[in-house]
Amino acid sequence: MPEVRVEDIIALARLQGVDLPRERAEELARRYPEYRRALEALTAEGFGQSEPALTFDPQGSPSSPLN
């Protein structure tokens, strides 16, 4: 995963409709390596196109992990 710069964080926030002040972006850039580990762990797992599929139960809460 490439290094993330402060400018990248500001641009990414702008794509989300958030005008992130530079100070907050710098704080995120400082903390980002730790958060990146979580993201890298998930993307490195390489889930297959069909494994496991996310499901939705129209009879129950879609967000319940027990459905």
Partner: protein, 441 residues
């Protein structure tokens, strides 16, 4: 009981900062009503019992801050469902307890209201986010407390302060009227000294609530009766050698002794553990993004009213892609399938609740397995996976480090098997007295 609790609050709260609001007048009114109820044979399950409520739960007419500056002056007009049920059972609410800001954290610190302090060593963290609830129980300022748990927020302070804390199955206890942190991870449960008291509170709290869309319709069993069923049939899964090696040297002997004490009580103890793989990563991504979705408007309109630490965590949620969130849910589904298979041959998973003793207040990093990690992440390491999976889990007092700091043993069971946790923890409390120890006044 109420006068004694209020007297202890007056004496001890300035030192430990367990309560953000004390409801003395209301408590005495409820205590008098309790006396009347007893006199006329109308006593409920909790009549007259002083209970502390985490300041995340709406309480009609009593300010509910969620540990925040933004909601500092908010006074709800109705009770959260959990509070309503406790009132109907006759509880005496003595006050609203300290928490991490918006329940976001496992430390018991708060940038707006100051830190709560560990009653065994006030220079140490009490754990969070239900910090005040745990302190209140251990110091006798309340006989029971209500907490919430999204990554460990009942179990962490229970372990750090030396009381029992139960996170039931997802949806077992209504979250209606509790300020959300992460919708698919939030749980509600009790903190108490004894397992029996927790079973009493759970019996009152549990049950379907149409106000909570995730509320379970599963029937509520007789927890108190089931609790007394013993543990002789239970098959336990204990930490592996690698997990033991990762525990702080101060924690390890306490857990080893706890397992030795459990061995005669149960059917078997093996060391087969499921592979938790991506649990920590999936929980982090899920928690941050769901929290950010809820806080988005305030983050835009009044970011200056958040503590910098909390704002940074919420900002990460804003920056996480939908793809990452979807993959976190895939990881969640995979872990759940793995755990479903595991329950065929095991009834309880045992871990340490905290791999380290409660850190010093203000610590931003802790050492785990020879590496420095973020303090908050370190505190959540063993508890967060079970929020992701929605299974019931508790922390039971298991002893103390050589420095006199509490150590908790985490027990985890299959969905809706709170009875298994209560049976095992109760049996353990019959042969140990850690839950009866109290810090020096």
């Amino acid at each position: 009981m109420t006068r004694a609790a209020l007297a202890r609050i007056e004496e001890r709260n300035p030192k430990f900062n367990a309560f953000l609001t004390v409801t003395a007048e209301q408590a005495m009114e409820a205590a008098h009503a309790a006396q009347e109820a007893y006199a006329h044979g109308r006593a409920g399950a909790l009549t007259g019992v002083p209970i502390a409520i985490k300041d995340l739960f709406d309480t009609a007419g009593v300010r509910t801050t969620a540990g925040s500056k933004i909601l500092r002056d908010r006074v709800p007009t109705s009770d959260a469902t959990a509070v309503e049920r406790l009132r109907q059972a006759g509880m005496v609410m003595v006050g609203k307890t300290h928490l991490n800001e918006f329940a976001m954290g496992g430390t018991g610190e708060n940038g707006h209201y100051g830190p709560a302090r560990n009653p065994w060593n006030p220079q140490r963290m009490p754990g969070g986010s239900s910090s005040g609830s745990a302190i209140a129980v251990v110091t006798g300022m309340a006989l029971g407390a209500l907490g919430s748990d999204t990554g460990g927020s009942i179990r962490i302070p229970a372990s750090a302060c030396g009381c029992f804390g139960l996170k039931p199955t997802y949806g077992r206890v209504s979250r209606a009227g509790a300020f959300p942190l992460a919708w698919t991870l939030d749980h509600v449960g009790p903190l108490t000294s004894t397992v029996e008291d927790a079973a009493r509170m759970l019996a009152v709290l549990a049950g379907h609530d149409p106000r909570d869309p995730a509320s379970s319709r599963a029937p509520v069993p007789d927890y108190l009766a089931l609790m007394r069923g013993g543990a002789r049939d239970l098959r336990l899964s204990a930490p592996t050698a690698a997990v033991f090696a990762a525990m702080d040297p101060a924690v390890r002997p306490v857990i080893e002794r706890a397992l030795a004490d459990l061995r005669p009580l149960v059917r078997s103890i093996t060391t087969a553990n499921p592979d938790w793989g991506l649990a920590e990563a999936a929980q982090t991504v899920t928690s941050r993004t769901e929290a950010s979705a809820h806080h988005r408007a305030w983050m835009r309109e009044r970011p200056q009213d958040y503590s910098p630490e909390i704002l940074a965590r919420l900002d990460f949620g804003l920056l996480t892609s939908g793809v990452a969130y979807a993959m976190a849910q895939q990881a969640r589904a995979r872990l759940r399938a793995r755990l479903d298979a595991f329950w065929k041959d095991h009834d309880v998973i045992i871990t340490e609740t905290l791999p380290i003793p409660p850190p010093l207040l203000g610590a931003t990093e802790v050492e785990i397995e020879g590496a420095l990690v973020n303090a908050n992440a370190g505190l959540l390491r063993r508890t967060a996976p079970f929020n992701l999976l929605g299974v019931p889990a508790c922390s039971v007092p298991a002893g103390f480090t050589a420095d006199g700091l509490p150590v908790g043993l985490q027990l985890v069971a299959a969905p809706h098997r709170e009875d298994v946790l209560l049976r095992l923890a109760h049996a353990y409390q019959q042969v140990t007295d850690w839950h009866l120890r109290r810090p020096a006044a």
